[in-house]
């Protein structure tokens, strides 16, 4: 209104690709961080870095939760959160393990394990979408409930009987590339296409930004919420394959605690807004790799697992604060400017 230059009746798209803008986008910054970590590793540990298998084992170490990261992008995108994913993953592992013990064909066991995750997800989704319970509270309590069920069934026992391919996908390489990475990239591509190019993806962005308008646009908001949590559950099931593989094929009721927080931290670092409606798939994909390299590097430096938690916590907080502080400080700066002009006019 005030700036006639910006307003016109010619509505054709005028913005073209701007390299300078692209180079400072959050995803590119993540790539720089990843590169810096790699360079640091090369400089400090050149022999190890170029040794056979180092890179692939670093990457493999981060792949067990990567599938949950992809689904968590959807969950955060609609402005919700799911802290029950680690428990669901254990439920899935347990279902597969128990069925293997009962000598069912292994493909059936795997599928049932993944479906068990889907059922847990539907349960979360129904409580959240239909009963309008807050997602945090629901998933906090279902994380206790699901893990509690595993505890009841397994008690202190450890399941050890899992399909053979579990360790293959978690530990082996194909043409020098970790198999888990290949699966992850395929899944990430599918999730990227869904989020950025499908009707469903568009609806996720709409719900995350404004659920009321989405409802008024004739979109089934409740149904989409339930579906998103179901996908989350299914992906937790798929994650369980890689998780159990990495754990050497044994599952007990207390494994994987805290994984949900890693998953959320990776998404947030990847630029997914916890308010919903913002972010892209490739941010968290790069962030997954960053986290793997970081944890591995810290391990090399002799930092133990518990202290690494501090880092994850700080990353979580900083990843949210940095963009926020930027915006605030710019606003503050503008206010200071206008404040000065206000004073000037008052004295006049």
């Amino acid at each position: 209104m005030s700036n006639p230059k910006l307003i016109s009746r010619d509505l054709t798209v005028k913005d073209t690709f701007k390299l300078s803008k692209f180079l400072i986008s959050w995803e590119m910054i993540l790539i720089y961080i990843l590169l810096i970590i790699n360079i640091a590793l090369i400089i400090s540990q050149p022999s190890l870095y170029f040794a056979n298998g180092t890179l692939s084992s670093i990457i493999q170490s981060g792949m067990d939760l990567s599938f949950m990261v992809l689904a968590m992008i959807f969950v955060l995108m609609i402005g919700a959160i799911d802290v029950s994913v680690a428990s669901i993953m254990i439920v899935c592992s347990m279902v597969t393990g128990l069925m293997m013990d009962a000598n069912f064909p292994s493909f059936l066991c795997v599928i049932c394990g993944i479906l068990a995750g889907g059922i847990c997800g539907i349960f979360n989704g129904l409580l959240i979408a239909k009963l309008k319970m807050p997602a945090v509270i629901v998933t906090i309590s279902t994380s206790m409930l699901f893990r509690g069920i595993v505890k009841i069934i397994l008690d202190v026992n450890v399941l050890k009987n899992f399909p053979k391919f579990y360790s293959t996908v978690a530990w082996e390489n194909l043409l020098g590339i970790p198999i888990s990475l290949i699966f992850f990239l395929i899944a990430a591509t599918i999730f990227g296409i869904i989020l950025h190019h499908s009707k469903f993806g568009r609806e996720l962005y709409m719900i995350g930004n404004n659920p009321t308008t989405t409802l008024y646009s004739g979109i089934n908001v409740d149904g989409i919420q339930i579906l998103v949590f179901t996908i989350m559950g299914l992906m937790a099931g798929i994650s369980s394959i890689f998780f159990v593989g990495r754990m050497g094929g044994g599952v007990s009721s207390t494994m994987g605690t805290g994984y949900e927080l890693n998953v959320i931290a990776i998404c947030v670092l990847g630029g997914i807004s916890t308010n919903g409606g913002k972010g892209r798939v490739y941010g968290p994909v790069i962030a997954t790799l960053i986290m793997a390299f970081l944890i591995y590097t810290l391990g090399l430096m002799g930092v133990d697992a518990n202290s690494r938690k501090i880092l994850i916590g700080l990353i979580l907080i900083l990843a949210i604060l940095i963009p926020h502080i930027n915006k605030e400080s710019i606003k503050q700066f503008k206010q200071n400017l206008s404040g000065k002009s206000k004073k000037a006019s008052v004295t006049k």
């Binding site: 016109s8 509505l11 798209v13 499908s198 009707k199 008024y216």
Partner: protein, 503 residues
């Protein structure tokens, strides 16, 4: 020495690039009731917020009893004896009446703890002259809107307010409640309190005010003694031009009944609502704020579901349980709050336009963004949306253009009935005209249109037929030929149970 208790000179306030107050003047005498009038979006609300210190003006001066003051927050204005009673009561719903009155200036014991006994006693004393039926220990959300307003008045009095600003206090009151409020306001005035009374109703102004100030398009228009200005002159000052110029000529031909609503009821909102809309017809649904009009529209669109009654589209009974059903049957809604319900302000315009019909743009299972953009450009150009380009977010547009984007969104659907809930709310006068033009053109194209509006001139200028609601009931229906402001006003204040109300 000043004659005025409060005086504002050349006050300017802008938000971003939008001017909300442009060189506004205002003078309030001691112990007068001063009416402040103007259309929606004229700048009245911003004006109150400047006086109460919520917003700080960009420039201009404010004099209290002749002395220049600067307000940094609401607590500053409260200290100086300025209190505001907002249109939407801004209380603490879960806290008691007592606590609502004293929040921010509690009575404490010597040990710095709440002195509940003293506060309850004082609250009772403050409430007693205003109303006998309010229990001060009950939570605020158990009271009626009228009672809550009385609590707000008591709150203002507890702070020894010398200036009380009332923002459309009578908007959702019954006639008896209005009369009670008038008497209270008169008593306050006689006690020496100066009152700024913001209202849309001429009745309020004639009954209470001695002077009236008019704002229009964020500007100060003038101040007059109430008994020295004619009704028509005042309206002309408010809307800025003669009435007949404001509305385009109607060109549509009215056809058969498209939508028929029979005895529609929803507990707590409305009861036995019946009306018909024809092809090419614009039906205005009017009445005071809170009469249940928006709820009727939301029920037709499936946001709420009715308890009983039927909705017939071209003779066939519909069950509408969600907006999905409504849109499938060809009923579209332009919601009241375009930013909260109509648009996703952060997403590009074209994505907003195609939101309800995404499945039309699927190509091999994926969205064809080129087609979406082309379609959105076509629709938006047709109704002359002005924007940087089609990927600009609606948050960068003016109110009028935002509303046009919502229109484009509706036009992308295949609809028979359009429900427009306050389509010109908060839109400047120039843009209003183009909204009316769009409405007319849509009617000519055969849409049946239901428009909800509180603005009397708009109702009279655009509609073919007028249905008036009051407290959840239809209290009058007029063809445009025999409708007058007086008749509509009478119907919108009428209460079928006014006699019961007194008991």
């Amino acid at each position: 020495m000043s004659n005025y208790i409060l005086e504002l000179k050349d006050v300017v306030k802008t938000f971003g690039g939008v001017t909300a107050l442009n060189n506004v003047q205002f003078q309030l005498k001691r112990g007068e009731v001063h009416a402040l009038m103007g259309e929606n979006g004229a700048g009245k609300s911003t004006f109150i917020k400047v006086i109460t210190g919520v917003h700080q003006p960009d420039s201009g001066i404010m004099l209290l009893e002749g002395e220049s003051i600067t307000l940094h927050s609401t607590s500053d204005s409260a200290k100086l004896g300025i209190a505001a009673i907002y249109q939407h009561v801004t209380a603490f719903p879960d806290l008691s009446v007592t606590e609502n009155i004293f929040m921010g200036q509690e009575i404490m014991t010597p040990f710095h703890t709440y002195n509940w006994t003293a506060m309850t006693k004082r609250a009772k004393a403050l409430i007693a002259p205003l109303s006998q039926d309010i229990d001060v220990t009950k939570p605020m959300n158990t009271l009626s809107v009228a009672q809550q307003q009385l609590v707000e008045i008591a709150k203002a009095l507890s702070r020894d307010a010398r200036i009380i600003i009332m923002d459309e206090p009578t908007a959702s009151l019954t006639k008896t409640e209005c009369e009670e409020l008038y008497q209270i306001v008169e008593r306050l005035r006689d006690d020496g309190v100066s009152i700024i009374f913001i209202t849309h109703k001429f009745e309020d102004m004639y009954r209470l005010a001695t002077r009236v100030t008019v704002f229009r398009d964020s500007q100060y228009i003038g101040t007059w003694d109430v008994d020295k200005i004619s009704n028509s002159k005042l309206i002309a000052e408010m809307v800025g031009r003669e009435l007949d110029q404001m509305y385009p000529h109607k060109t549509s031909k009215i056809g058969d009944v498209v939508l028929e609503v029979n005895k529609l009821s929803k507990e707590g909102y409305f009861k036995d609502i019946s009306f018909k809309v024809r092809k090419g017809e614009i039906l205005a649904l009017t009445g005071l704020v809170g009469a249940g009009r928006t709820e009727v529209c939301q029920t037709l669109f499936g946001i709420m579901t009715a308890d009983s009654g039927s909705i017939l589209l071209e003779g066939n009974e519909l069950t509408i349980k969600s907006p999905i059903d409504a849109l499938k049957n060809g009923i579209g809604l332009l919601p009241e709050d375009r930013q909260l319900q109509g648009l996703v302000c952060e997403l590009p315009i074209y994505q907003n336009v195609s939101a309800p019909v995404l499945k039309n743009f699927l190509k091999k299972g994926l969205l064809d963004q080129e087609a979406e953009i082309a379609n959105a450009i076509e629709l938006c150009s047709k109704i002359q949306v002005k924007a940087k380009d089609i990927v600009a977010p609606p948050s960068s547009l003016s109110g009028g253009n935002q509303q046009k984007v919502v229109f484009s969104k509706l036009l992308s659907c295949d609809l028979k009935v359009l429900i427009l809930d306050e389509p010109t709310k908060g839109i400047d006068v120039g843009a209003k005209y183009s909204i009316y033009e769009i409405m007319n053109e849509l009617a000519s194209n055969g849409y049946a249109i239901i428009v909800v509006s509180s603005e009397m001139p708009e109702v009279l200028g655009t509609a073919d037929r007028i249905v008036v609601m009051k407290s959840g009931r239809v209290t009058g229906e007029f063809a445009i030929a025999d409708a007058t402001q007086e008749k509509i006003l009478e119907a919108s204040l009428m209460k079928h149970s006014d006699t019961e109300q007194g008991a």
